[in-house]
Amino acid sequence: MSHGHSNPLQHPEVQMASRSSYLAGFVIASLLMLAATILVSGQVLPPFALLLTIMGCAGLAAIAQIYFLLHIDISEHNIWNTVALVMFIPLFVITIGLTWWMFSQLYLRTMPMIPGMPGMH
């Protein structure tokens, strides 16, 4: 890696910045969040389909931001950032998923209905 050592502005981390790529990330994420907001406030879909749709919007918006803004790709300069993120995603999902699973099973077996509460969903 022969980066311009003398001038930090010639460093690939600086030179990889791109207006069009940042704009693409912004537009895609904004449109997906707009779509999710319209769907939720309009309540046009049945609840489960609505949940799946907004989950899809969140996933695509996050991928767009990670790719277009954070430069996570397989280029030589960024590959280790990508590897670290790929290792991170299972930790993130397992932390949330297993915690949620354990407590949902616990609630199923232990939680009595209390008068005056809204129903379990």
């Binding site: 890696m1 980066h3 050592h5 930090p8 502005l9 460093h11 690939p12 981390e13 600086v14 030179q15 910045a17 791109s18 207006r19 940042y22 704009l23 990330g25 912004f26 994420a29 904004s30 969040m33 707009l34 999710a36 907001t37 939720v40 406030s41 309540q43 609840p47 609505l50 949940l51 907004i54 989950m55 919007c57 969140a58 918006a61 996050a62 931001q65 803004l69 954070l70 300069h77 280790w80 950032n81 670290a84 993120l85 991170f88 930790l91 993130f92 932390t95 949330i96 915690t99 949620w100 407590f103 949902s104 609630y107 939680m111 209390i114 509460m117 809204p118 129903g119 379990m120 969903h121």
Partner: protein, 212 residues
């Protein structure tokens, strides 16, 4: 080998490595290190998402208000746009840095700060509105988890704004040195990552809470 014996090495004078080694890439090293920090920050959010996930059942709110009663999706959508635009402005600032344009970088960061401050202002206004409705963290476990997650994110934005202020001073004072450029890139990743986390908070806490 024999010459080394002729002249004894003085431990106070010897230079073991060059501090200007050509292959030592300061910006890349620091950027990767900061990316590690960002991912561990992501694990902090994972624990808060997990806490919110297990405390967002209807019994978690006991008989108190649920997000369906106090979340205003369009209000929070405006907050979302303020944050996304702030991240875009910071990105444009970094694009201006490619050509060494100090004015372009400073304008971008100032725009990013203003939009970030709009996000914080809307958040504070929203919290005050909820408090006036009696929606406070101590009402139920569900509300504690809601406030913890959303306000930890707001605290990140606040720290980012302070950091931007510091960077504006350093750009004016020191110019684009290796240190300053490296910090600007770390701040770029930090700021963009807050937008990624906000996508999950907005969809899974605000929107999902509103529809439940």
């Amino acid at each position: 080998m024999s010459s080394a014996h002729e002249k004894p090495v003085d431990p106070d004078q010897v230079v073991l490595w060059s501090d200007d080694y050509e292959g030592h890439d300061v910006i890349s090293t620091r950027t990767f290190g900061f990316w590690m920090y960002i991912l561990s920050d992501g694990m902090l959010f994972a624990t808060l998402f997990a806490a919110y996930g297990v405390l967002s059942y209807s019994h978690s709110y006991y008989t108190g208000p649920t997000p369906a009663q106090f979340v205003a999706p369009w209000y929070t959508f405006i907050q979302t746009m303020a944050l996304f635009l702030s991240v875009l402005a910071y990105g444009f600032s970094m694009a201006a840095m490619k050509t060494g344009s100090k004015a372009g970088v400073i304008n971008g960061i100032v725009a990013s700060m203003v939009l970030g401050a709009v996000f914080i202002g809307l958040d504070i206004h929203d919290v005050l509105r909820m408090i006036s409705m009696g929606v406070t963290p101590e009402v139920s476990g569900g509300l504690s988890a809601f406030y913890a997650l959303t306000q930890v994110h707001a605290a990140h934005i606040f720290v980012g704004l302070i950091w931007m202020l510091v960077m504006l001073y350093q750009i004016l004072k020191k110019g684009f040195t290796e240190d300053v450029v490296g910090r600007l890139i770390s701040l770029r990743m930090f700021w963009q990552f807050q937008a990624v986390m906000w996508v999950f908070i907005y969809v899974f806490v605000y929107l999902w809470g509103y529809m439940s």
